[in-house]
């Protein structure tokens, strides 16, 4: 027997199927009433399709996050798409050189609304250690970012935490947000539309 062993304790099955939390609402016999925002938010947040834009070591951590040990599928995000047209969540992981900036923006533009962006790691968030002429000092210079994950690179747990925060934002987002003046002003400040 090796001195250290993992997964040796039997874990009882808590539930056959994991269920999403039910939104607040009124219910009685044969009916349940809630707001459309809540229902759509529930559906969206548990079926996010991530688009990984991995350029360096943070991408390797994301690969671990996708694999069995950390398993991003537990959050309904196992369907990693490699076409921006089908994806909801742009995950930028790694150093983005200034020359790569327009590519990130292009990928963002090709995604359909509603779309979210998560900047994983110090480089994507702020340029990180690359305080230099050739590196973009944070992807928020070219696209709006919803969640920043700190770390160099962040552990898979941190990436999962970022994803859960995105889920939180998605679940609580008002259906009118994307038509609002503030949102238009935000996109306009990036020269989009």
């Amino acid at each position: 027997m090796r001195p250290v062993s993992y997964n040796i304790k039997k874990k009882p099955l808590e539930a056959d199927i994991s269920m999403a939390e039910m939104p607040e609402g009124h219910q009685g016999q044969g009916f349940f009433a809630t707001t459309l925002d809540n229902v759509i938010g529930l559906a969206r947040k548990n079926s996010l399709w991530p688009l990984p834009f991995a350029t360096s070591c943070c991408g390797i951590e994301f690969m671990a996050t996708m694999a069995a040990t950390y398993d991003i599928a537990r959050f309904g995000s196992e369907r990693v798409g490699f076409s921006p047209r089908q994806c909801d969540l742009l995950m930028v992981m790694g150093t983005i050189a200034k020359k790569m900036g327009p590519v990130v923006k292009q990928v963002y533009l090709q995604m359909a609304e509603p779309r979210w962006v998560i900047a994983v790691g110090a480089c994507a968030s702020s340029g990180g250690i690359f305080d230099t002429y050739s590196v973009l000092q944070g992807i928020d210079q070219v696209v709006p970012v919803d969640v920043y994950v700190p770390g160099c690179p962040p552990r898979p747990e941190a990436i999962l935490d970022g994803l859960m925060r995105i889920q939180d934002l998605v679940g609580k987002e008002s259906l009118r947000r994307r038509n609002s003046e503030q949102y238009k002003a935000l996109l306009e400040s990036y020269g989009i539309q």
Binding site: K99, S126, S134
Partner: protein, 167 residues
């Protein structure tokens, strides 16, 4: 018979006399320089001379020596004789105010991108180059980043978010 550094030096001195200078040997590799106007003649001689045959351009790069007034920028050619497996290093120096050097693209097709890179980082103007534009950096860049003429930290930069870095 293997080609020795002495033989290479003899051949060069025989052809160019005192126009080739600064012969030195570092880690067994011969290095020399000449005036920048001679660079094509010297390179052509190194390629075509029957005993030398330096037909492969391994690398072409720039170096900036800011204290070397009037000769700030060096262009370094690394050449390889594949048959004898001998390498040499050839340098020309130019003024950073007017860094014009003749292009080696006529001799080596591979010099095309290397010269673009050297232009990109040091601003060396390769006269006669077919497509001298930036290759690695963004096209909007209006300076030559590898020149040693900038402070270590540029205080006028606005693309760095000070809030995140506590500066």
């Amino acid at each position: 018979m293997a080609l020795s550094n002495e033989q290479i030096k003899e051949k060069l001195v025989e052809k160019f006399g005192d126009q080739v200078i600064g012969f030195e040997e570092q880690y067994g590799m011969l290095s020399f320089q000449s005036a920048k106007e001679l660079n094509l003649k010297v390179l052509n001689f190194l390629v075509e001379e029957a005993t030398l045959q330096f037909r492969f351009l391994t690398d072409l790069c720039g170096v900036h020596y800011p204290d070397n007034k009037g000769q700030e920028i060096a262009v370094v050619y690394h050449l390889h004789n594949m048959r004898e497996n001998v390498r040499i290093r050839y340098k020309v120096f130019t003024d950073s105010a007017q860094p014009d050097v003749y292009t080696a693209t006529g001799l080596f097709a591979g010099a095309n991108w290397m010269e673009r890179e050297t232009y990109d980082f040091y601003g060396v103007n390769f006269v006669g180059h077919p497509n001298l534009k930036r290759i690695l950096n963004v096209e909007e860049m209006d300076y030559f980043p590898m020149r040693k003429e900038y402070p270590l930290e540029d205080q006028s930069r606005i693309d760095k978010d000070d809030e995140m870095f506590g500066r």
